[in-house]
Every structure is written in C-alpha cells, then in structure tokens.
Amino acid sequence: ELQASVFTGPGNEQEIVVSGTVLDPEGKPLIGTSIRVEGTNNGTLTDFDGKFTLSGVKKDAVLIVSYMGYQTQEIAVEGRTEITIAMKEDAQALDEVVVVGYGTQRKSDLTGSVSSVTASDIEKAPAVTINQALQGRAAGVHITSTSAEPGGGSSIRIRGSNSISGSNEPLIVLDGYPLPESGEADGDSYTKQTANPLSFLNPDEIESVEVLKDASATAIYGARGANGVIMITTKGGKIGKTRVTFTSEMTMSSVPDFPALLNGPDFGRIKDEERVSNGNQPRYDGLDGRPHWTDLPTTDWISQILRTGASHRYQLGISGGTKASRYFISANYTKVEGVLKYTDFNRGNIRVNLNNTLSDKVTLRTNINYTRSMSNRSEEGSGIITTPGAIFNAYKANPAAMGGELSETDDENPEFQNPLSLLREQTNETSDENLLINIHAIYDLLPGLKLNLRGGANNKSNRRDIFWPTTTVQGELNNGMAVLSTFQFNDYLVEAFANYNKEFRQHHVDIAGGYSWQQKVARRVNNRVQDFPTDNLGTDGLQLGLLPTVWSTSKVKRELQSYYLRANYNYKRKYFLTLSGRVDGSSVFSENKKYGVFPSAAVAWTVSNENFMKNSFVFSNLKLRTSYGLTGSQAIPPYGSLSQLGVANYIVGGNAVSGVAPSVLGNPDLEWEKTTQVDAGIDMGLFNNRLNITVDAYYKRTDDLLQNYQLSPSAGYTSTMKNIGSLENKGLEVTVSGEIGKKVVWNPNFNISFNRSEILDLGEDGSDIYGPDLARNIVAIPGNVMREGEPYGSFYGYRVTGLIQPSDFDYDGNPSIPLFNNDRGPGHWKFEDVNGDGVVTPDDRVIIGDPNPKFIFGWNNDISYKQFSLNLFFQGSYGNEMINVDRLFIASGRMLNNQLQEWGEKRWTSENQHNDFRWPGGVEQSNMQPNSAIVEDASFIRLKNVSLRYRLQMKPDDFIRNVELYATAHNLLTITNYSGFDPEVGVFGQNNLAPGIDFASYPRARMYQLGVKIGF
C-alpha cells in the first residue's frame, strides 16, 4: 500500500467532503462515534446530533466507523458526499474489549484464559455484593458463601486452592488499583469469619468483570497472580446529555424450612428415659406432684428467632459528558434485613468517576468511592458453648422450658439462655468505612505510545462493638461485658507504566511495562472490659467498666515494589505470541530473598483466519491457545523472617511486672511460594458465532509452599514460617453459549468446571496438617487434614461401621468389638478399629470424606420476547461432601440440647434396635467425635435466580427515557440430599484448613424482589 501511495501521488482533484449521520439500531443519533479514513490519520467524531463532516476524502476511500459496543463498519465512499450509517450492536462477543493488567485487549486477540462477566449479567439478578453476583457465572471460579448473613463473606477459589498457610483468595484489581487484602476488627468469634473484602463495592456501578485464570494472563501481577486475578471495571460516563437512572427495589426474605425439633412433651419423655436408665428419678412421671410429660408446653425456638426480612435498595446514577469531560456519579443506599431477628446490613456509598481530556495529549481518569456500612450481626457458626449464636442457642434451649412462650429461665438448666432475648439484648455491630481514590493520568507521547501515571489510596476503617448487658447470661455472669475492636488500614499505590501499540504490514505489537509501588499499614486495637455498673452505655462507655481484661494494639506494614512487562505480538491476527513477566519485591520475605521473577509465555493460532477455513460453513471462529508460566504468592503475614519477642508479664507482690519472652523464631531463608501453570485452550464459534464453545485444560503445581513449619516442640517454638512442600491442581473448564430463535430469543450459557487437587509433598517427614477444632470445647478435635496423596482439606475422623448392639457383649458383659473410650452404650456409634489393636484410639482416625466437588456448574438462560426478558439461572455443585456438625448435637441423643423430631422417631432404642448409624440412640454418647456418620453428600442444584423484566416502550423524545419493571426470586428451589439448612456453607470462612464444615450456620433466605428502574 505504501508503494501504491507513492506512485499515485496526492491527486487533489479526487478529494471530496463527506458528511453524514450515524444512527444507533433504534434510529437515534449516536454521539461520539469515531470515523476515520482507512490508512490515514484523517478522522473525526460525531457531534450531538450524530453528524460528522470529513474533508479531504478520496472518492474511493473507505471509512472506518467505530463505537464501543457496536460492530465496527467499513463503508466505501464510492464518491458519495452524504452518507447515513446505521450501527449494529456487536452481538459477537469475540470483538469485545477486555480489561487485562495495565491495558485492554480485543477478546479475539487473547492468548490467555480469561472469563468475562458484564454489567448486564450482574443486573439480571441484583445482589448486595459482587461475590454473590459472580457465583456460578464464570468457569473455573468457585465462590462459596461462608455466611448467609446479610453482607456475609465468601471465599473465591480460581482453579482450586494453591496454598495451605497463605491466602487462596484471588487478587482483586478495581479500575487498575490492586486492592489490598481486607480484614476486619477482631470480634469475640472463634471461627473469625473473614470480612467480605468486596462488600464495600456497589454491584450497580460495575461495568465488567474479567477473571484472569492462566499464568499468561496473571503473570503481569507476578507475586499476587497465583490465585488468579479479578479485574473489576466500574462504569464511566458516555458523551451525550445527562442521563439519570433511578432504581428502587424491595425484597422480602423468607425463611427456608428447618427440620423440626422435638416438642416439649417428647423432649420431657425422652429426657426422663435417660434419667431412669441412669438410675435417677424421673421428673415428668405425673407422680408425687410432678408434672406428666404430656402436659409439658412447647416452644419452637427456631421459629421464635426467625422472621421474614424486608429489604430496600435505592440507586441513583447520573452520567453524561462532552468530548472533554465525561462523568458517572452514583449514590446507593441498601438495607437488608436478615431472616434472623435483629440482624441487618446497611450500606450507603457515593461514587464519582470522571474522565477529563485536559489537552490533546493528556487525559485524566478519576475514580473516587466512599462507602459506609453498618450491620447488626449474630455470630452464627462459632460453636462456642458459652457464647453461641442464636441458631445453636435454639438447639440448646429446652423446648419445654417452664413459664411458657418466652421463658427467661429453665429450672433444669441454670445456664439457659433464651435465644430470642440474646438476639434482642446483645449489641453486636460491625461498622465499616472505605475510601478509595484512584487517579490515572494518560499522556499521548507519540502515536501509539502512551505514558501512564497512577496514584491512589485506599483507606479502610472497621469497628466492632459487642456488648452483653446483664439481661443475657454472659452479661449476668460478668456483670456486663464489652468487646470493642478496631481495624484500620491505609494503602497507597504509585504506578508508572507505558503502553505502546503499533501495526505495520499485518504485524501487530502491543507492549505494556512499568513500575509499581504499594504500601499498606494496618493497625488493630482490641479491648475487652467487664463489670459495668449499668447496661446503659455499652461499648460507648468502656471507662465505666471496672475490669479491663484485654487491651492490645498492633501495627504492621507491608510493601511491594515491582517491575513488569508484557509484549503481545500477532501476525495477520492468525499467529499470536504473548510474553509477560514481573519482578516483584516484597517486604515480607527474608533479607536476601525479597525479589522474585515471574515470567510467562503464551501462543495462539486463530485457525479460522487461515484461508482454508475462511469459507467454513461450520466454524466462524476457531482458535487454539496454550500458555505456560510462573506466578507467586506473598500472602503471609509480615515479619516471618525475623525473630521477635512478645509480652509475657507476671504478677509479683500482687502487681503486674513486665516480662518479655521470645515469641517468633525467624527464618532467614523465607521466600516466595511459586505456582507453575500450563494451560491449553480452544475457542470455537460455530454457525456465525451463534454457538460459542470454550474449553480449557490446566495443570498447576505449587512448590515451596509457605507453611507454618512444625518444629520439634522441645526447641521452645512450635513452628516457624518455612517454604516446604508442594501440591497440584488440575482441571477442565467448558463454557458453551449460544443464541437460539429470532422472535423469541433464547441465550443459554452453560459453564462447568472440574478440578482435582492433591497434596504432593509436605516435607521430609510428610506429617499431616490438621484443621482447627470443630467446636471450642465439646468437639475440640479437628475434622480436616492435609495429607500427602490426598485431596486438599480432606475430612478426617473415625469410620462408623454401625451401632453398638446388646449382642456385641457376652453374658459377662465383655465386648466382642473394639470400644472407644470404653463407651459401651447400646445404640452408640461403633467406630472401626482400623489398626486392629483391639481398641479404638485416635490412631484409628482415617480420611472419611472429601469437601471438594467433582464439578461445579452454572447455567444461565436469557429469554427475550419483545419488551419482556426472562432470566433463569441454575447453579450447582456435585460430589462434594460436608461435615454436618449439627448432627453431633441434634441427632446423636445428646439431651443437653434438643434433638431432631426425626431422631425421636428413628433413634435406636431397646425396642427399636437397628443398625442405621444416622440415628444412634441410648443415653448420651461420650464420643462426640468427627466421624463418617456426620459426613453427608452436599451436592446440589439450585435455581438461584429467576428474573422477569418488562421494558416499557417509550418515545425517543419523552422526558422519561425508559422504564423497566422487574421481579426476581433468589434461591427459589434447591435440590439436594443434604439434611442441614443449606448445602452451600463453610463456617470456617476463608480458613484454608477447614473447608466443608457446617455448624449452626446462618440460614440462607429465599428472597423475592420487586423493582423499578427509571431512566431520564
């Protein structure tokens, strides 16, 4: 072409002035459309009326007309001076632009594995947090909500878990700002539900979400890329007049069915059976003035503490702009009432996104978000016997507690805590403020070369207020008890990078590279004070308390300094090569191991762009890609390489005297955890891209695992941070999407992900790593283990072979079976003596289950007809098991708490001698141990959302631009064999070592929403 223009010469006589109008598919003018003469720098944008004028256009020139979200068109001028161009919506996802680290890429140019979720996907099922919205939407992304409480947390796993001691949460990059790990104020919790790091983000403001999965895509984030990267982009203003969108929505949350517990009479009757068999006197036999069990009252404590919650959401968006200045301003208020009485979540936020063209060369992007949230909580799932959550308390409460409906005492149990009054009386608040400022300046230095400078700050401040007034058991014992903790971090980011983009002779080069520095200082304050003269002030008047028992502060700092580079190259959009890498320096490692290098490479071949495929009837797109690379993790607490001393005071002469003791043995060789990943993928578009299929297979291996390495305790330390061991994840992901029909259009999108994990090596001695104790005192035994050769986080405990029968003992009472702790109660669980030594001891514990699903899937269906659109979204998991700890308490015969009604009917008794270990019986078992009888299949399929929308037909010049009405139901239907409240919980939150544990967790609500969205 270059030669042609030289020989042809300027030829002024052939140039004309072309003017015209660009219209959107509805026939309205499209403002800001780019029109460029092919092969020249001659171009312009359409004005407010969608009109443009271009001079110096050759008669045979071709105009390139492009606008984000519409198909780019090539229009031959053919000598015309007046052209009307109708834009078509870009139905082909292939040419979407996706956000990758430090830049964007055409989706069709990608060499790595990236899944996208767009605003319209998120909008279909309005959710309070983005985690909920993403659940099931992208292949390879496994999101488990760790608490169903309003605003509750979740854990996100991209292609399995890579680390044992470090975090497995992906890096979240919000508008280019890599968010620091979150955290929250320490409460009084045992399980420490980790705060949802994204709860400050209003899903209404999100334009798109990209999930970077393979090493090629994530290596640009080097030391934080091993767990995958989620790129979130918020909405921006578009050129045009001001548009105002207002959404109002109301939600009713209804309680799922809970299996019935024993009523008062049955509870009294069975409790008396226990008394009699223990040789004690019955209490409800109707003799000597004692009541008869049939006369006992019943309180259904579970239904006492649950309610139908009403929630509201108001969202206001204002956007618009000129070529020089675009703006998007959003304000939101959300209030969610929980299905547990007195629990709720309130959030308000304001976001300002600006895009200013300061000069021909300089653009400034500004994102500012401020969020404040406040929730009233009930710490469910903690399993602490003295301060349980309401659900566990309701299990514990005697259904026949004397004094009627809302009794405050139970004469059988002086520790009785009325579950409802605990919810009502106890203060349990979390409040949170999050400010994020992110300013990005872009300088167009040369054609194709952009310099970028980003500065930002993210400040979070979180506060936990817990107060037990004297009207609660805990408060009565302590004469009022207050816990006040704060957590706060200040994170700063400075980045300088360049993007270079060049096309020459079908060679396309795209390079991004630069420098980044990020620092985070986190502070904690913890206070616990007891013995208050009055309940009136609670945590607002700690000074009233006579007995401070805990007070501590901590400050930690971490710093990251990095250099990164990515080069994309392709030839004729057929052959693609990506090389990327990052050099990361992190303060958390030892002095000589601060820096790590994380390279990656990927190639792709778009077969469908080859001539021999051009006319393929079937394949409109066919692309093969593969990548290999190394990423890392630095997600350990700071100071692991340094020896430290801690406080160890003592009382001398009645006064506290200062003591200082060795607390941490530093490891001067501490370094990066490294994950190597291979990915091979294929993208297929069939029948003019009406059917799209993406398949990815991957293998990941993590070495030098960061671990709390167990030292021989005689050294005086039990552990030190060390790099030891490896594990692997391998899997397959398939996404199929399509478009069927013309008038009634059905867009199904199905994704399924398979992941298999294995612990390969845990060091020389290969000793097991155990999870946390299931409950603080009663089940003070772990239920999970990391063991070489086994899947990640396997369940661990005794294998139950049946129930102990009277026939297991001879005439003299000698057992013919091995016993655990000499528990010979008939009807109790019979544990297998695995090592055959004649008794059941902790050595007989084995792997009893697998919390990892065989596969997870999501199936989204958009069906549209005229102004109606219907969305059905199914989501599920298959083959994962759950330890249902509740069964140890409510289906084991432990009459210190209530039992399931079904247990009352099916339990083992001397009249009903069976061997079904699901329903043991007899007098209270002594072996409240994790065992195979409480491991259940937790596979499920859930109709997660059903949403029906109706868009009112408006005239283009109406004041009200559009009105949309919608009704949505969440969690409408769940098919599962799991016997608990919900197959989708994990009460240990993000604790890597304890996946798949359900213990009196917050009940998941079924929700019905009605909403209206009005645009002006």
Binding site: P414, V556, Q644, L645, Y650, G654, A656, V664, G716
Partner: protein, 482 residues
C-alpha cells in the same frame, strides 16, 4: 525505589533488647509467665498429675483417659501442649541465662536473676524427667533452625543438670523477698526443691539414695530456721487456701494469679467446680474424688471438707445439690466429688485470682518424716514429723505401733500425702516414685470401671507424637511400650 527492609512495630526484637537491668528482669519474669498461662495448670497439669490418683473420677472422657490410661502419644489436648509449654519456658530460661551475663548491671542482681532462671529451668526439667523419663536437654537458647532436634538425654544427665542449677540457685538466691517481690523464688524454694529432687531420685525408677543425707540437711535447715525463710505451718488448714490469705507462711512456691491483669487468671474453680458452684465461674464440673476416698479421711480430719465439696447451694438459686444423691449431674457418684481448694466467687470464667499452690511447708515436714524412715526406719523422730502434720489437720495421731517396718511407715506416708496434698499436683509423682502404680491401677476407681490392667509402660507418659514426628533424633526412641 525502596529498600523493602522490615520494621517491626508492635513486637520487640532480640537485636535491640537484653541491654538493661530492666530487660534482664523482664527476661526472667517471662519464665514465670509460662507457668500462669492458661490452661497450663487447670487443664494440662491436673490431667497429668491428679487424674492418675486411684481415687479420681471424672464426668468427661478427655479427663478420664488420664485415669484409665486410654490416652496415647497422639494426645494433642494434654500431653502435646503441656510438653510444648514446658519447653517454651525452658527456652525462655535458657534465653535469660544466655543473655543476662552480657548485660551491664549490678553483679549481685545479675547473679540473682540468673539463679532465678536456673531454678525455673530445674523445676521444669524436674517435672519433665518424672513424667517422661529421658528427655531432650536444652541448656542453650534456640536461635536458629540449626539448634533444634536434640536427642533424648538419659535421666541421670537430666538430674545432674537439675542439681547443678538448684545448687547455684541455693547459692545466689536471697533467703527472703520484700513484699513487692513476693512470689519470686528464694533460697528456701531452692533448698526445698533440691531436697525433693534427692528424695525422688531415691525412689523409682532411679533408686539412687545417695542424696538423702543432703536432702535431710537441707530440709532440717528449712525446718529449724523457718522464721528466717519466712515459713511456718499455719494453725488452720483451711487458711492456707483462702483468697484473702495468699502467699501465707505455708507457701513455698505458688504460681501467682490475678484477674486485674489480662490473661493472668486461672480457670481452676470454674473448670473443676460444679454447675453454678459457689466457687465462681459457670462450673464446668470436670470431676473430683470418689465417695470412697472422701470417706477414707478420719471423721475429725478438717482436710476432708476443705479439699472436697460434698454439697452446695447453686448460685442464684435455692437448689441444694448433694454429691451422690441421684439428683442432677452432681447426684451421680460416678462423676466425682468436686474439689474445694480453689474458690473465687468473683471470677467470671477463667480469670480466678486464686494462686496455684505448688509447694507447701507441710511437705518439708512430710519429706523429713519420709527421709528419716528411709535412713533410720520408723523411729520416734519420723512419727513426730508425721504426727505434726496430722495434728494440725485434727486427724488422729499415730503411735509407734502404727508402723513396725520402713515399708509400713512408707504406707502411712503414701496415704498421708494424698490427704494432705490432694489436688496439689503431687499424686502422680508420689505414686510413681513410691512404686505404687501397679497398686493404684488395680484399685483405682476409673481403671477398674474401664478394665485397665497394669502395664510397665504406664510408669511414664509417652513422648508426644508431634515431637517424635518432627525430631528425627527422637523418632524411633519412644518410651517402651508406647
């Protein structure tokens, strides 16, 4: 660009500590701190020392297993954390002993602080060697991964180290402490412990009586100069344990507890008291003694009802619970009668003020009686010592016919020590050193219920599995039978 060097803000660094006199004191105080970190005594040490008594009974499987020997080396609720906590203290002591010499400070005080650290190190090794036999002997601070994984040292070596430490402690510790230093060890504490070490060595499994004469000399010096050491036998047994009478003249060593300082309280009364007991806390009721043992005291013996709680009125109610009456958990005689030595009605859960008494002056007298018997047979002197303790308790005194042979007198001492020191962490040590384990298992309440028969391996606890698995120099060297 930035250096990425780390600065620690909320913890101290060994590189800039251990420079002043105050630092030296803090290093020693830290060792004591190891003794009052919950649940060292109320959970670990009670399980290991009290539960093996033939008269213990418990409501809880986790406690019972230490009475009926159904635990094993993998026990990570008691054996492992106890072992770790003791070695943590030993490392603290080693740190103090290694670091203090280089500090520029008053030389007398320096020696005194090192002596204090050595006493605490000896006390911990003394417990370890009696509970576990041969144990790793660390006498230097662990500063890097190269220092770990010591092999087991023979018991004789451990005892030699203990004796050396205690002799130095005897030399350099002050005979008395001013009020503001009360609770820290003194020369008397050192002599007491050294005598106890010698007496223990004379019994099973060392059978080395070579130190008995020296033990007697040490104890006589304490007995005859008790005023100088600040010791005495209180007139009233109950006064020893009163919350408003802590650090009384009877106390030789007690771990100090205070609710007013975070994490420095004990859970004793809460954990071992029955539900809503008058002793404070909620009352977890972990167990206590058998009905039979309660009845074994002389009817006039005041120690019985100071030590055990036969009946109580539940706090905040009018309900009276009587042990063994059949009513409620406390009515079931199988569960054990709760102890009564630890009482702090003001405590909430585990923040009790009651000091944990480890050694008392009446032990000086009973050890003298025992040593006299071992050296010279059951003579009048031996009986005088024994009767002095019984008289104070208002129990009937023995005449010389009560024991004609050293064996018979030993029997009297064995029983006396249960009555005098029940629930004071002596039971397992006395049973083992006096060769009574087989008898204790054959007659024990929990062992009989469970059907445990004696096995020589029960003479020692197993080395915890975590140590075996992490220390290649110990792997394969578990105590025999475990």
């Amino acid at each position: 660009c930035t250096s990425l060097d780390e600065e620690v803000y909320s913890d101290l660094s060994p590189n800039n500590f251990y420079v002043s006199e105050a630092d030296a004191d803090a290093a020693v105080i830290a060792i004591y701190n190891g003794l009052n970190r919950r649940p060292f005594h109320d959970t670990y040490f009670t399980s290991l020392t009290f539960m093996p008594a033939p008269h213990s009974a418990s409501r809880l499987p986790n406690r019972r297993m230490f009475a009926n020997y159904s635990f094993d080396a993998s026990n990570f609720q008691i054996i492992e954390p106890y072992w770790s906590a003791v070695y943590d203290m030993i490392n603290r002591a080693n740190t103090a002993i290694d670091r203090i010499p280089d500090i520029d400070m008053d030389e007398t005080l320096k020696k005194r602080l090192i002596a204090e650290a050595k006493w605490l190190r000896a006390y911990n090794y003394f417990n370890l060697v009696r509970l576990f036999g041969d144990v790793p002997l660390y006498l230097k601070e662990t500063t890097s991964l190269e220092d770990v994984n010591q092999p087991r040292a023979p018991m004789s070596e451990v005892y030699a180290a203990i004796i050396e430490d205690l002799k130095e402690a005897d030399e350099n510790l002050p005979p008395n402490r001013t009020d503001d230093k009360k609770g820290r060890v003194t020369r008397g504490t050192a002599r007491f412990l050294l005598a106890k070490v010698y007496l223990t060595m004379a019994g099973e499994p060392m059978n080395d009586g070579s130190g008995l004469e020296e033990a007697r000399t040490l104890l006589v010096s304490l007995y005859e100069n008790k005023g100088a050491y600040g010791y005495d036998l209180l007139d009233n047994y109950a006064d020893i344990f009163k919350l408003d009478n802590e650090l009384n003249a009877e106390i030789v060593f007690a771990v100090q507890q205070s609710r007013a300082v975070g994490g420095q309280g004990t859970g004793m009364a809460h954990i071992w008291g029955p539900l809503r007991s008058p002793f404070g806390g909620t009352g977890q009721y972990h167990g206590g003694c058998t009905q039979e043992f309660y009845q074994s005291y002389d009817s006039t013996d005041v120690r019985r009802d100071v030590t055990w709680l036969e009946r109580y009125t539940a706090r905040g109610t009018n309900q009276v619970f009587v042990f063994g009456s059949g009513n409620g958990p406390y009515g079931d005689p199988r569960n054990g009668m709760a102890q009564a030595k630890y009482q702090d009605p003001e405590m909430n859960f585990v923040d009790g003020e009651t000091d944990i008494i480890i050694y008392r002056f009446s032990d000086v007298i009973l050890m003298l009686a025992e040593i006299e018997n071992e050296l010279n047979g059951p003579n009048a002197t031996a009986f005088d010592y024994l009767n002095e303790v019984r008289e104070r308790a208002h129990a009937g005194t023995y005449d010389q016919q009560a024991a004609a042979t050293p064996e018979e007198f030993r029997e009297l001492i064995y029983k006396e020590r249960f009555w005098e020191f029940s629930f004071e962490f002596h039971e397992v040590f006395d049973i083992r050193r006096m060769g009574k384990l087989k008898e204790a298992i054959e007659t024990g309440f929990e062992t009989k219920l469970f059907g445990t028969s004696y096995d020589p391996k029960y003479e020692l606890y197993p080395i915890p599995l975590s140590e075996i698995q992490t220390n290649p120099n110990i792997a394969g060297h578990q105590n025999p039978g475990w």
